[in-house]
Symmetry: C2
Subunit: 199 residues, 2 copies
Amino acid sequence: MSSTDIKYDALMGRWEPDARGRLMQAAFELYVERGFDETTVAEISEAAGLTERTFFRHFADKREVLFAGAGELHSFLVSAVLDAPASLSPIATVRAAFVESATFFGERPDFARQRQRIIVSSTELQERELIKLANLAAAMAEALRQRGVKDPAASLAAEAGVAAFRVSFERWVGAATNQKLTRIMSDVFDELRSVTAAS
Amino acid sequence: MSSTDIKYDALMGRWEPDARGRLMQAAFELYVERGFDETTVAEISEAAGLTERTFFRHFADKREVLFAGAGELHSFLVSAVLDAPASLSPIATVRAAFVESATFFGERPDFARQRQRIIVSSTELQERELIKLANLAAAMAEALRQRGVKDPAASLAAEAGVAAFRVSFERWVGAATNQKLTRIMSDVFDELRSVTAAS
């Protein structure tokens, strides 16, 4: 079994073998092979054996294929903050939400690693990624305020939490580590506490 | 003396009455009056009594007028991190750099407030702002690594510091507060420590 087989098995486990999944898989392959800028929606649709019309029923544009899971992750995290036990501190609430969300990313970083490589290849995609993360931090801060947390504590807990998540995710995706994402997040949130304690 | 007079006196105190300053002042006035998207480089140049050619000697495009100070701030902060006493912890280093940088923004938030209003009016400008802040955090993390700080501590100190700076700046610009930016930053960095301690 080649590493490519393993990769696609992992993808198929996460995506239903439906139109949406076929479009995503075709898009990722083309983005990696030819580059994001050089790939057209027509080519993605053809590679998936579907029409452009079907593509646009699933995605607003070719960027959105890369952010397909972001909306669900965003909703999940906001709900997790709102539903957390009242006894949790703001940062513990944010931390618990991110740790719970790890299931979104699967066991292995192959898919996330491929996505990351595509994102860093394009300024436009990096900007989109930053906007999504900024919106996520703002939404989590708002959820904390709904729990009665005052500002600046609400904003700081959300922003610092998103920063810790980003750092964790980059470690998971980037390094030659076999550690689980939840484990890395736990270490990074601990380190955030140590680092900021020294101010 | 009208509030407009006060505003322009403040601007003139910060900008030399040269071509660059006149272009910036004209651009800000037009962005506020007509909107960023509706303003052309030709109109800015004309309002400043200069040619488009002069405009493009100073700025790459009409967005860059709003980020004219960002490059200097970036360099200042990176140098401040590199030159800080070796005894300072990573987060104390970042904190001291931001507190020192407060002089960049002047005594009063009028100018920053006007700029903020223009930025939030345009998705394109918000994206540019986020990219600049992300690059700033990456550069400060790199400067910390040059001081011998390991990751993830370097990234976390830089990211959390930039988050605290953003929150401070928004409070300074946004609220009906007369507090100095340095004072707000000091409170917000203290609050960051309390917030993250509770994880």
